[in-house]
């Protein structure tokens, strides 16, 4: 992705809107008693479209904003989301995405790992009570939600940053001209 000032502003706005939408909408709706968490999927999309650095920086920024708005200790969410963004970006840099299933699968797996990461950060400071096995069910359902929502986020973001995508420009150049009347 070629980061022009215009594209950077778009990415910042997407990040801001994503965090606000998560806190005011997704966190407050429940299906099967579980609220979706779209932030890991959003960071995965940043990484897949922009590479490892864009993924890591967006993960840090989104985590930082999340911690600020939830009045939590700063840095916990950033640590987890940096790892997610960097991993997604590195995947994009090393492998070509051929199947349409790669993005939703990546979002689901990263959401699962992200939730475990949030748990690990919390455990680092001590969990002073019992942990129900239902946590595992909740995490799996969250990953399932991420599978379905991840693709929509990816398509939307790809459309938004299309002028900056390197592979998109290549596709446009190599497309065969339409022959009228053929």
């Amino acid at each position: 992705m070629i980061l022009t000032p215009k594209i950077t502003i778009r990415l910042v706005l997407v990040g801001l809107f994503g965090v606000l939408l998560q806190l005011t909408f997704f966190s407050q709706v429940e299906l099967f008693h579980v609220a979706p968490n779209v932030l890991p999927a959003l960071v995965v999309c940043f990484g897949l479209l922009g590479g490892s650095m864009t993924g890591a920086v967006s993960g840090f920024a989104i985590g930082f904003l999340l911690d600020c708005l939830l009045i939590q200790p700063l840095g916990g969410a950033s640590l987890v989301l940096i790892a997610i963004g960097y991993a997604a970006g590195t995947f994009r840099e090393r492998f070509e995405i051929h199947s349409r299933l790669v993005v939703p699968l990546m979002c689901a797996v990263m959401t699962l790992l992200g939730e475990l990461g949030f748990g690990a950060v919390e455990a680092m400071f001590g969990i002073d009570t019992s942990v129900s096995v239902l946590v595992v069910r909740d995490i799996l359902i969250k990953s399932l939600f991420a599978f379905f929502l991840g693709w929509a986020i990816y398509v939307g973001m790809r459309r938004l940053v299309r002028p900056a995508l390197v592979d998109e420009a290549t596709v446009r150049r190599t497309r065969r001209p339409t022959v009228l009347g053929a």
Partner: protein, 281 residues
């Protein structure tokens, strides 16, 4: 050229990770800092507008979820209704008697709102997205008289306490948070204990009770006890309804010294809450 690029990437990544750890170390254990207060001051109005604008869509999705849930609960609720009707008759008589006694003792009519506490009504504007935290952000803060440790209730009972405040928002730690501990009393048994969360199950709290010869039974009410001691930071005024005992087998009581409590408040579905300000001991 490529190596230089790789080195730069690694340096940025290391900087971000070190920065995150530094922030975590510096801000852990603090209520709120000036940076958070500034950010929330900027975004709180936007959150409030978004929250209100998205309420119909949220309600629609939650209605679908609740409809599925309600089908299973219907039978159980009908049975509970029959029991409640019988109890209501005896309850009315007890209420009349209670009024007379309260007048005699000059007690406050409202048991849920302690004397001297001023309720401040707020709305939930943000919820934590992970399964590990049970915090909500509400749209009232220090500007409305809210202070740290103020109890927070809704129409059903206690939901938690304020753990951090900014000018216009407050963070509320719910009863279902893993670090929540509330000193409680079981009525009418009188047994005292501590209610803790069970992570991942907001409808199930674990009541670890202190040594007592009295046994407790299913259906008994749990209210705040009002005391705090070593390891228990709760400063809730006494007699705020918390929940009811749903499982109290003798084996659990004797061997494990615990039973299970269902909170009266639906901690998964919070909208309007009241912060009891000014009454924190």
């Amino acid at each position: 050229m490529y190596r230089k690029q790789v080195r730069r990437r690694r340096a940025v990544l290391a900087l971000l990770i070190v920065g995150s750890f530094a922030l975590l170390t510096l801000t852990y254990g603090q209520g709120s800092n000036s940076l958070q207060r500034g950010v929330t001051a900027v975004f709180a109005p936007v959150s409030t507008v978004l929250d209100r604008a998205l309420k119909p869509a949220r309600d629609l999705i939650n209605w679908v979820d609740e409809t599925f849930d309600a089908r299973g609960k219907n039978q159980k609720l009908e049975e509970e209704l029959q029991v409640a009707r019988k109890e209501a008759v005896s309850g009315k008589a007890a209420l009349a008697e209670n009024k007379e006694l309260s007048a005699l003792l000059k007690l406050d009519k409202s048991a849920a709102i302690p004397e001297g506490a001023e309720p401040v009504t707020g709305r939930v504007i943000a919820l934590s997205p992970t399964v590990w935290f049970s915090d909500v952000t509400i749209d009232v803060g220090s500007g409305d008289g809210v202070t740290v440790n103020d109890p927070v209730v809704n129409g059903d009972g206690l939901i938690g306490r304020v753990t951090a405040v900014t000018g216009g928002t407050s963070k509320v730690m719910l009863l279902s948070d893993h670090s929540s501990k509330v000193s409680v009393r079981i009525v009418p048994a009188g047994v005292q204990g501590i209610v803790k969360a069970s992570v991942g199950e907001p409808e199930r709290l674990v009541l670890g009770f202190l040594n007592s010869d009295k046994s407790i039974r299913k259906g008994e009410s749990v209210v705040t006890a009002g005391w705090h001691g070593e390891g228990i930071e709760s400063r809730f005024p006494p007699n705020i309804p918390v929940g009811e005992v749903t499982k109290a087998t003798l084996i659990e009581q004797e061997a494990q010294e615990r039973s299970i409590v269902r909170p009266y408040a639906d901690l998964r579905n919070l909208d309007t809450v009241q912060v009891l300000t000014g009454g924190t001991p």
